[in-house]
């Protein structure tokens, strides 16, 4: 059974940075001239490694560099990596949406890719017409769709509206219909991008179940996601991309471990020398620290981990009435909540503030903290943004659902009884 169905050899992809504009023509001409003279493309050499945080030193960047791997028939293969690691580029190349700059991919069987649900949906067409349209775009023949039509309508749960134009659908119905078509594809190789992030919990579970079925029928699935839980539950093997190169490949578990240890580069603590500590003549911040209480030998903060946030600051004015205020920002930049200490009259000198966050309170997210030192409960003496950054990952779930847990916080510590 372990026949190779995909063999990726030396795949690289070069992107030009910045805009296509008037300067591009001269590059194109130089490149063309080099090719005419039988020389190497001059711009293939200048690509910098794909690292978006560094200032660019070249107009070109390698989104992927020398990728090699194989996938066997019946594998469920996960691709993980941070945003910009090259996951999408690799998917696009595998789905033939764009082509590699170098290298070759050999394929056995028909590939269908789901980079998006509902590709080609036309708002004026009815649900039925769109099922056919979308199915055909994804590579199904009319016969195949005819055969599966009832099943698709059933799966989507929009049977009542199948003759209504989809522009009248709610966004939920739209997505369900689109996914229903996708879920009934039967290619030898199915490529799925993070489309599981859509739809409600029940529907997601249905989709994951459907994909599991597909895999057990000897079909191959390539699955890309940020959701480690979903990757872990669905994929046997995984590939971890970092800056356009393979950082690890192997069993999903070991790859996810590598990913966790390398990518979660957070700012768990900061400490300054008194002379150059951030602040002003009234107050200075000396240190900030996240102190997690790990259970067992786990050393990743997940949603069930309790932790303290500890701050040291210097009060420069005797008998100043002070309180501390903390703002929790999510990775999307929204303020999740704001907590403050009570006001106290403080002596001149170094003081400490500790906030205790219980486990089972925060949702999984990357949190960024802003610390404010407030005078007399009204004006900020000093504040520092991004003083701490840390990630809270999803805890191992006991249910079969792996979708994104909704909400800014996840206070499962609240008592919620079912009698």
């Amino acid at each position: 059974m372990s026949r190779e169905v995909i063999k990726v050899e030396h795949i690289s992809k070069l992107y030009r940075l910045g805009q296509v504009g008037t300067g591009t023509l001269s590059h194109d001409l130089k490149r063309w001239w080099a090719v005419v003279r039988g020389k190497e493309d001059p711009f293939l050499k200048v690509g910098v490694e794909n690292d978006r945080t560094s200032k660019k030193s070249s107009d070109y960047a390698w989104a992927l560099k020398d990728i090699n791997f194989n996938i066997n028939q019946g594998d469920t293969f996960g691709i993980i990596g941070k945003n910009g690691a090259g996951k999408s580029t690799l998917l696009k190349i595998l789905s033939k949406v764009t082509s590699p700059t170098e290298g070759i991919i050999k394929v056995r069987g028909r590939i269908a890719s789901l980079l998006e649900v509902g590709t080609g949906f036309h708002p004026e067409l009815t649900g039925k017409e769109n099922i056919y349209m979308n199915g055909a775009i994804l590579g199904m023949t009319k016969k195949e769709i005819d055969r599966k039509f009832d099943e698709i309508v059933d799966f989507s749960g929009v049977a009542l509206y199948v003759n209504t134009p989809v522009k009248r659908y709610s966004s939920g119905m739209y997505v369900r219909l689109a996914f229903a078509v996708a879920a009934h594809l039967e290619p030898e190789i199915l490529i799925v991008d993070e489309v599981l992030a859509v739809g409600d919990a029940e529907f997601q579970k249905k989709c994951l179940g459907k994909m599991g079925d597909v895999a057990s029928h000897g079909r191959t699935i390539i699955f890309v996601s940020h959701n480690m839980q979903a990757v872990q539950s669905l994929c046997k093997t995984a590939l971890y991309l970092k800056a356009g190169q393979i950082a690890d490949i192997g069993t999903t578990e070991s790859v996810i471990n590598t990913y966790m240890s390398r990518e979660i580069r957070n700012c768990y603590s900061q400490r300054w020398e008194f002379e150059n500590a951030p602040g002003n003549e009234l107050a200075k911040i000396i240190s900030a620290e996240v102190i997690p209480y790990f259970k067992d030998d786990v050393n990743i903060i997940d949603t069930s981990t309790a932790f303290d946030l500890k701050f040291e600051f210097y009060n420069a004015v005797q008998n100043q009435i002070i309180n501390l205020s903390l703002l929790f920002y999510s990775s999307a930049g929204n303020c999740i909540f704001n907590v403050g200490t009570g006001m106290r009259t403080l002596d001149k000198g170094i003081h400490t503030g500790i906030l205790k966050i219980p486990g089972k309170f925060l949702n999984d997210n990357i949190y960024t903290i802003t610390l404010m030192i407030v005078k007399e409960g009204s004006s900020a003496l000093f504040y520092l943004e991004d003083i701490l950054t840390f990630e809270v990952v999803d805890e191992p779930r006991t249910s079969a659902w792996y979708g994104k847990w909704e909400g800014a916080v996840r206070p499962t510590l609240f008592e919620f009884e079912l009698k």
């Binding site: 372990s2 026949r3 190779e4 063999k7 992107y15 030009r16 296509v20 591009t24 023509l25 194109d28 791997f69 194989n70 066997n72 696009k92 190349i93 595998l94 789905s95 033939k96 949406v97 764009t98 082509s99 590699p100 700059t101 170098e102 290298g103 070759i104 991919i105 050999k106 394929v107 056995r108 069987g109 028909r110 590939i111 890719s113 980079l115 998006e116 590709t119 080609g120 036309h122 004026e124 067409l125 017409e129 056919y132 349209m133 055909a136 775009i137 994804l138 590579g139 199904m140 023949t141 009319k142 134009p165 093997t237 490949i249 192997g250």
Partner: protein
């Protein structure tokens, strides 16, 4: 993943390869054929979405050429005084406009294939040529509706009013139509391929198509004495001999010039081949620059 497995898979039979570039003229007809249902659905979509939520529905396909015909009759026949001989100006301009709008629509829409469909092309693979081909077919359906209308008038003038004498060349008009639309398609896919990276050409195309109409015997006939001295320049336009042959077949008036028709056929085929080569070359990477 392991060496052992690599050694086992020594049967080198792969179904397809994904590589940086295509062979020069790799049409892959087989693949196009596999996607024929998609072609059909695209055509269906084009047709039904046009008249959704309209009262007159497909009648709109007729109204537009009729109104244009009236304007042309007044403008070119009455005011400018172009001679249509014994052919009723209404009939003369009707076939001209029906043909021209099929050609111009095909050219206009296929020349935007990549930019208009970047969204779909960026998400899923199917043979890209399916899209411009579907436009040729949906345009053909629209053409047929308009043409049927023309035929009704033509039958009246031929057999009832007996003012025009058609000839057996009518039988080759489907072939002329094929050449005309292939020319539009070839031109269109060449332009869309050239405009993915540099948009400059799109500006040229919008008014270029309008100007081209004046260089094609749409509003006049080559046999008109006012036109005759420019005949040899006009015939360089591959559309000219096609339009003239069409009118010759249906009205018995016009030019049927085998030499210039052959020129049009060769021109069209060359353009189509170049168009496909460039199109196939661009489709692999356009999504990065569009």
């Amino acid at each position: 993943m392991t060496n052992e497995k690599i050694l086992n898979s020594n049967d080198d039979k792969w179904d397809s390869n994904i590589t940086p570039s295509n062979r020069l003229l790799d049409l892959n007809i087989k693949e196009l054929w596999q996607y024929r249902d998609l072609l059909f659905l695209f055509v269906k979509k084009d047709i039904i979405t046009v008249y959704k939520q309209t009262i007159l529905g497909p009648i709109w396909f007729i109204i537009q050429p009729i109104l244009t015909t009236f304007v042309f009759v007044i403008l070119f026949s009455k005011m400018a005084g172009f001679d249509t001989g014994n052919v009723p100006p209404f009939l003369f301009y009707m076939i001209s406009i029906t043909l021209w709008s099929y050609f111009a629509d095909t050219l206009n829409i296929t020349s935007k294939t990549f930019t208009d469909n970047a969204n779909i092309f960026g998400k899923v693979y199917f043979p890209r040529l399916i899209l411009p081909l579907s436009k040729v077919f949906s345009g053909f359906i629209k053409f047929l509706i308009q043409f049927a209308f023309f035929i009704a008038f033509w039958l009246y003038y031929t057999f009832v009013a007996k003012s025009i004498i058609p000839n057996w060349y009518v039988l080759i008009t489907p072939f002329l139509l094929l050449i005309m639309v292939t020319l539009g398609l070839g031109f269109g896919i060449l332009i869309t391929s050239l405009t993915t990276k540099y948009r400059d050409l799109t500006f040229l195309i919008t008014f270029g198509v309008q100007l081209l109409m004046y260089g094609t015997p749409v509003a006049y006939s080559l046999t008109d004495t006012k036109v005759e001295k420019y005949k040899n320049i006009l015939l360089l336009n591959p559309l000219t001999s096609i339009f003239e042959a069409f009118k010759f077949a249906f009205f018995g008036k016009g030019e049927f010039n085998l030499f210039w028709l052959s020129y049009s056929v060769i021109f069209t085929l060359l353009l189509l081949i170049i168009g496909i080569i460039v199109f196939k070359n661009v489709e692999k990477r356009f999504i990065d620059v569009v």
